[in-house]
Symmetry: C2
Subunit: 332 residues, 2 copies
C-alpha cells in the first residue's frame, strides 16, 4: 500500500527540494502533508500542478502519516520524531539529531542500503558534504580499502538553509549597486569572500562540519578506523558543494582503474576533460542527481602508487539532502 507522507520543514531550502523530487520521481503516495512552524502555517505551496496548504507542526500531526521526511532542524527533529514514530510512522531525518545514535541507521543508498532494514522508526540522512564525498569514494574503497583521506571543501551557501541563499543574493546586489554589504546571519561577509565553516569548534580545532565528515563516513562505511581529516570552507556559491579529495589506498591503484570503477558506479558522473579544461563545477552539478567527479590523477606525492587526487561537485540540496532521503524512502 502506498504510504501517507508528511514533509517536516516544508518551507525550508531542503523542504522545497523534497517537494520537487517527490514530484519529479512520481513518488508513490496516498497523501502528502506539509508541516512547518506556526509562522508558515496557511502558506500555500505548489505541488504536481495543484496547491497544498502548510499545516502547523504539532505532536498530533502524525496520526494519519506513514512516512515523514524531516528537515526542520535538529532540535525540531529531536522534539517531534519520537511522536511520529510512536504514531507508527517511519522518519527519514535529514538533520544531525540522530545521525550518530548507534540505534539509528545512517544511510547513503549507494553505499549501505542494507542498514535501512535495521531501523527502529528513524533513519538518518547524512550531512551533505559527507554524502557528496561518500558516493564516489565508496566504490573505490570496496575495490581497494582506503587508509586515509585528506579532504578540503568548497561549500555553497545553500548548506546554511534558505537564508544562506538569500544573504548571498542580497550581498551580490549590494556589491553591484556599490552599497555597503550587510552581514546578517552569516558570521562574515560571504560575497567576494570565503570563510571557515561557521559551526562550533571542538577542543581539537576541528569544526562540527569537519567532525561530521569524519564520523559519519566511518559509520556509513562500517570503517570506524578509517583515517580522515577535513577542512570545511564556505564559498560564495549558491548551491552545490565541491570537494578536493586526496585518498591513500592500502594497495597501489592506477588512475585508469579509478576511472573504470567510477564509470560503473551508481550516482557518479565522470566530468574530466583535460583538453577542454572541463571538470566538476557547482553550476554544472546544480539540479543534477549525480555527483560529478573529475581531476582524477595519480597523486605525485605518493611514489608508492597508493595515492589518488580527485575533485567532486554535487548538488547540496538534492543528493546532499532531499534526493538521498527520498531514495531511502523509496527503498523502504
Amino acid at each position: 500500500m502506498k504510504p501517507r507522507v508528511a514533509v517536516m520543514g516544508a518551507t525550508g531550502a531542503v523542504g522545497s527540494e523534497f517537494l520537487k523530487i517527490l514530484e519529479q520521481r512520481e513518488f508513490p503516495m496516498r497523501s502528502l502533508k506539509l508541516l512547518a512552524s506556526i509562522r508558515s502555517a496557511g502558506k500555500k505551496l505548489k505541488f504536481a500542478g495543484g496547491e497544498l496548504t502548510v499545516e502547523e507542526l504539532t505532536e498530533k500531526s502524525f496520526d494519519d502519516v506513514d512516512l515523514v521526511l524531516a528537515s526542520a532542524g535538529g532540535s525540531i527533529s529531536k522534539q517531534f520524531a519520537p511522536a511520529a514514530v510512536k504514531a507508527g510512522a517511519v522518519v527519514v531525518d535529514n538533520t544531525s539529531a540522530f545521525r550518530m545514535d548507534p540505534q539509528v541507521p545512517l544511510v547513503v543508498p549507494e553505499v549501505n542500503p542494507g542498514d535501512i532494514k535495521k531501523h527502529k522508526g528513524i533513519i538518518a540522512n547524512p550531512n551533505c558534504s559527507t554524502i557528496i564525498m561518500n558516493v564516489p569514494v565508496w566504490p573505490l574503497h570496496k575495490a581497494n580499502p582506503i587508509r586515509r583521506i585528506v579532504v578540503s571543501t568548497y561549500q555553497a551557501v545553500s548548506g546554511a538553509g534558505a537564508w544562506g541563499l538569500w544573504e548571498l543574493d542580497e550581498q551580490m546586489k549590494a556589491y553591484a549597486a556599490g552599497k555597503a554589504i550587510e552581514v546578517k546571519k552569516f558570521p562574515h561577509q560571504i560575497v567576494n569572500n570565503l570563510f571557515s565553516h561557521n559551526s562550533e569548534i571542538g577542543d581539537d580545532g576541528y569544526n562540527l562540519e569537519e567532525r561530521k565528515m569524519v564520523l559519519e563516513t566511518q559509520k556509513i562505511f562500517h570503517a570506524p578506523k578509517m583515517l580522515i581529516t577535513a577542512t570545511c570552507v564556505r564559498v560564495p556559491v549558491m548551491r552545490a558543494h565541491s570537494e578536493a579529495i586526496n585518498i591513500e589506498f592500502s594497495k597501489p591503484i592506477g588512475e585508469g582503474e579509478v576511472r573504470e570503477i567510477l564509470a560503473a558506479a551508481d550516482g557518479v558522473k565522470i566530468v574530466d576533460d583535460r583538453a577542454a579544461n572541463r571538470f566538476p563545477m557547482p553550476i554544472d552539478a546544480s539540479g543534477q542527481d549525480d555527483v560529478l567527479v573529475g581531476r582524477i590523477r595519480q597523486d605525485i606525492s605518493r611514489p608508492d602508487g597508493r595515492g589518488i587526487d580527485m575533485f567532486v561537485a554535487g548538488d547540496q540540496l538534492r543528493k546532499g539532502a532531499a534526493l538521498n532521503a527520498v531514495q531511502i524512502a523509496e527503498m523502504l
Copy 2:
C-alpha cells in the same frame, strides 16, 4: 647610489600594485620609468602625489635603468629581460619565464634570501600560490623537515590579471541585474561558481599552476625531494588567495609548537580565534603584507602526531607578487 627603476607591465594588476608598494615603502630610487605595450603608451599614472607617463616598452628602454620590476607576462619577459640585463640592469621578474632556469635564483625573501646573490642579472619571483604557501610553511620545515604536503587552493580572480577582476565585477553586476552572465576571458562563469585552475594540464593530470606550487617550492626550499600534491581552484573572490594545507613532518610536532614557530616567523600573522570563529579570510588578507594563518590543528588522521592542518590567506597581488619582488629589490 640609489637605482634607476623601471616597471615593465605598469598598467596591469601587479604593475599597479608595484607603484603602490614603491610609494608606500618609500623605495629609494633616482628615477622611475613606467613601461607597457604601445597600447598603453601615453597613459598617465599617479605616483607619490605626481603623475608619470607610460612609455612604450622597447629593447632600448633600459639604457638608463638599473633595476627592472617585470610583470608583463612570460613571453614579454623572455623577449625583453635579456636586453635589460645586457644594458646592465638587474631584472626582478614576476613572470614564470625564468623560474625553473637553474641559472636564475627563485626567491621568497623570508625563505632563501641567500640565493639572491647568485643572480646573473635575473632573479625570479615565484608564483603567487607558491609564495603564500612558502612563507608560513618554511619556518615549520626548518624546525621539523616536511615529508609531504597536500594543498588545496581557493584562488582569487586577481591572479588572472586586471581582466580577471573586471570579469568577476561584470558578472556580479549582471547577476544582480538579472541579466545573462557573459563569459569573456575565463573559460567558465566565475560568479556563483568555481572551477579548476584554467592553466594547461599535463599528461599526469596536474595543471601548470599545481606544477608550479610543487616544483617552485622544491627549488626555493632546496628540497628537491619534498613530496607535494596540489589542487588549484579559482573561486569568485576579487583578491587574496586562500589555501588549505595538510603537512606531514618527519617527527611528531604539536599544535602549540607550530603556533610558537609561526608567532615568531617573518611575514606571518596568526588569525586563529576558535571562540569567535575568526580565521584567515580573503577580505582580511587583502591589502595586507602578512600571510594570515589559522585553523592550526593536529591532524586527527595521523595518530603518529606527525600531521598538522592549517588554513592560510594572503594578498595575491602584494605578497603573492609585487611586494615579494620589491622585497627582493630592497635586498639587492
